[in-house]
């Protein structure tokens, strides 16, 4: 990245965005007061090229031209000599709208259905099976956050410079080229450090960069656009029915998950596959049917928010297991121990694998937190504490993580690589893969250990070309895990070939070679127990303690992994409405299974388990309606008023 030019702020234009609060309307007119040459108003019609940008196969408008697709969509951008003038002028701009029907259903894929067995418990003799139903929901969240950020564009010689925080700089360059027609080779990115805990800097900076670049080209001056980060999380609703026998063992299950991705969908098919993997329960069933539906709405398009559906689906499964346990009057931990087998069933989405490690993490956490005793005490007191209840809950969630994208996605995206051992005893890897600098360092080291006597300088990764994604969001980095193991296998094979064949010797490999026939590979497991109490003074849910244990196939840096997991757990509790008090206690245990397999997206697993444990704890403390997340004191207060 080049250094930013230190231009005077007096010679630049400061921009703000003008939003339309209500989606599903048509813009009939934009009334703006007379403006002198110091001001510039950009609407959708002023964009020189195509007023949209693309991510994978989805396309998003940058500025609403006629139809406003979602609540809060950008309708115009106003540039002025300073922000105060821009805000004052924006107050005089009126956007006239009229009702319009929206038609965004085209991009929605068919529901994904998966299942096995044709056992129908409703046809069996009456009373043999009981039906247990549960519903789990996460509301769609779309809000401007508190973090203010700027995107700046300026021209210097033949180059157009863009300074922005971005999880995907290549997307910015593509979009600016697409919109302004400026050749990509002349667009220089200056990356601003950022933290995108909900993937806020994935899509929006690209749109802002295109607007700033257009303004810069129009005015000939550096242009800066300032806005607050947009956090948008998909709305999830999971309805599940399980038939259990006399002993409480599940026999048959039906589950329907509906995902509201907002006005535009991002990778909907992959979202369905990942969600489906999370919906499959760990216990054996005679028959199982799952359906994942993606819908659109007038909400802002949802970003990945650390997960492509697996976390939320896993949380819903964990929540449901606790509901089954309630029916059998066992604690969720003991119930799981009674219904889970030694090995998980092989499905099209996850391979069959031993549940030993997962059971160990559950045992560790249950004993450290005195889970069974507390669960029983809370349940017992709940019945005896009158109208208000005991207002305490302890939630349990235990599950496995997944590694990488689905096999289907990897086949369609065609990520491949070639490893060559040269006559000069160097290794060259050609790939169109994501090249995060830290990851490449790690890859080089592992290849060097096998092929170049531990000298990473002798391993080179080829230039990735214009089509590569450089630094993707966290959720895209998940693919790194599966690629790491492929690289390792290729290095192993090449170590043998270089001794047997004439140099140079090459090995070509791609995603299709691995993990067939399952969509995902399991990578690590964990258990989370969360204790909450509802503060009587304001009915606010307060997380008092959290215990967690994780086991991963391999651990590279234990301390940073521990930190990262801690953050994810704390932030997830906070995000879904639990207050973290000063005396909050967290106990986290991380172990390595030593199998050397892929470690992938531990944050996604931690997030799923934290949501599952929190909703379960809320259910115990205040009833099922409180478990619809995110919760708040007003929701809980309303429950007690009913």
């Amino acid at each position: 990245m080049a250094d930013r030019k230190n231009f005077s702020r007096y010679n630049m234009r400061c921009g703000i965005l003008i939003h339309v609060p209500q989606g599903g309307v048509r813009i009939t007119r934009i009334n703006a007061p007379e403006m002198d040459s110091r001001f510039l108003l950009l609407t959708g019609n002023d964009m020189p090229g195509d007023d949209s940008f693309s991510i994978f196969s989805s396309s998003f408008p940058i500025i609403a031209k006629e139809t406003v697709a979602y609540n809060g969509q950008v309708a115009a951008a106003l540039f002025a000599p300073d922000y105060e003038s821009a805000v004052l002028m924006a107050n005089d701009i009126r956007i006239e709208t009229e009702e319009a029907g929206t038609d965004t259903e085209d991009s929605v894929p068919y529901p994904l259905e998966y299942g096995w067995g044709d056992f129908n418990p409703e046809e069996e003799e009456e009373g043999k099976y009981r039906k247990v139903e549960s519903s789990f929901s996460l509301a769609h969240t779309a809000a401007r956050g508190m973090r203010l950020y700027t995107v700046t564009a300026w021209i210097e010689g033949a180059n157009l410079h863009i300074e922005a925080p971005s999880e995907w700089p290549e997307l910015i360059r593509d979009t600016v080229e697409h919109v302004t027609g400026y050749p990509k080779r002349n667009i220089v990115m200056h990356l601003v450090p950022y933290t995108a805990r909900n993937d806020e800097f994935l899509l929006e900076p690209a749109a802002l960069a295109a607007i700033s670049a257009t303004a810069t080209i129009r005015t000939g001056l550096p242009c800066e656009l300032r806005t607050e980060t947009l956090y948008s999380h998909p709305g999830i609703s999971v309805k599940r029915e399980t038939w259990i026998d006399d002993e409480g063992k599940p026999a048959s299950e039906k589950v329907v998950m509906t995902v509201d991705q907002g006005a535009f969908t991002i990778l909907p098919e992959e979202y369905q596959r990942q969600a489906c993997a999370g919906l499959i329960p760990p216990y054996p069933l005679k028959s199982f049917k799952a359906a994942v539906k993606v819908t659109t709405s007038l909400n802002a398009p949802a970003a990945f928010a650390l997960s492509l559906g697996y976390s939320e689906a896993l949380a819903s499964t964990e929540y449901h297991i606790s509901r089954l346990a309630e029916k059998t009057e066992l604690t969720p931990y003991l119930y799981r121990a009674s219904v889970e087998k030694e090995k998980r069933r092989f499905t099209d989405y996850l391979p069959g694998f031993d549940l030993d490690d997962q059971k160990k993490t559950a045992e560790t956490v249950a004993s450290r937190s005195s889970y069974n005793r507390k669960w029983a005490a809370n349940s017992f007191h709940k019945r005896d504490f009158g109208i208000m209840g005991y207002l305490r809950g302890i939630g349990f969630a235990s599950g496995t993580g997944i590694a990488g994208f689905s096999t289907t996605f990897r086949k369609s995206s065609g990520f491949g690589a070639m490893m060559t051992y040269t006559q000069k005893h160097n290794v060259i890897v050609n790939t169109s893969y994501i090249n995060h600098p830290g990851t490449v360092r790690r890859w080089k080291k592992s290849i060097a250990d096998r092929l170049t006597d531990g000298m990473p300088d002798k391993v080179a990764f080829s230039d990735h070309g214009n089509d590569s994604m450089d630094i993707g969001p966290d959720v895209l980095s998940r693919i790194v895990a599966s690629f790491s193991s492929q690289l390792d296998n290729a290095a192993k094979k090449l170590a043998v070939l270089k001794e047997e064949e004439a140099l140079p010797v090459s090995l070509k490999f791609d995603a299709e070679d691995s993990y067939y026939p399952c969509e995902f590979e399991n990578a690590g497991c964990g258990t989370v127990v969360c204790e909450i109490s509802i503060r009587q003074s304001d009915m606010k849910p307060v997380a008092t303690a959290l215990w967690a244990a994780f086991s991963f196939p391999s651990i590279l840096e234990a301390e940073s992994l521990r930190n990262s997991l801690k953050r994810t757990l704390m932030m997830t509790l906070s995000e879904f409405g639990a207050e973290i008090p000063m005396d909050f206690q967290m106990n986290i245990d991380i172990s390595s299974a030593g199998s050397g397999g892929a470690l992938s997206s531990p944050q996604e697993l931690a997030r799923g388990l934290a949501i599952g444990a929190l909703s379960d704890a809320l259910m115990q403390a205040a009833g099922k309606e409180a478990a619809a997340l995110p919760t708040s004191s007003s929701i809980i207060e309303e429950l007690f008023r009913k």
């Binding site: 203010l148 930190n563 953050r567």
Partner: protein
């Protein structure tokens, strides 16, 4: 109004609206983009040292700056004080996320300079930051460790003097 103040060691005379918040002065007039401005939502991501005490810059109006010294993280990160805090992060294994790193470090510095060791006082001060990336125990441990590191450093310095 005209305001005389020192920002990151530079003595400045600024012509400003008297009620403009310090966070916006730093962003718009001084050009420090790393300071957040949350329009009074009290996100806690804009802490600076005002005469050595950590304050949220969005809550400091321009007229209060007259004759005061402001230190932002941009300048503070190059000092020995920050080295002590970084060492404490490393030794306790608890590091704030990138989002609140600057702000939390400034509040840590204020607590360390005052030598605050009382748990509730430490947590009260740190409650200014709304980001939930550190557990309360980690926050207290960092402050206590950094105070210990600084004391050792000061003792070494006085021995050599």
């Amino acid at each position: 109004m005209k305001i005389d103040c020192t920002i990151d060691g530079k003595t400045l005379t600024l012509s400003l609206n008297s009620d403009k918040p310090l966070s916006l002065i730093l962003r718009e007039n001084i050009g420090i983009d790393s300071i957040n401005h949350c329009n009074g939502k009290v996100c806690g991501l804009c802490a600076v040292l005002l005469d050595g005490k950590a304050v949220l810059s969005c809550l400091v109006p321009a007229f209060e700056l007259n004759g005061k010294e402001v230190i932002t993280f941009e300048a503070f990160q190059r000092t020995r004080g920050m080295k002590d805090i970084e060492k404490a992060y490393e030794m306790t294994g608890a590091t704030p996320c990138n989002s609140c790193y600057a702000s939390r470090s400034m509040i840590f510095e204020s607590l360390i300079a005052e030598g605050v060791t009382d748990r509730s006082e430490i947590l009260k001060q740190l409650s200014l930051v709304k980001c939930r990336c550190m557990t309360p125990d980690d926050e207290v441990n960092v402050v206590l460790k950094a105070i210990e590191i600084r004391r050792k450093r000061n003792v070494r310095r006085s021995q050599f003097a």
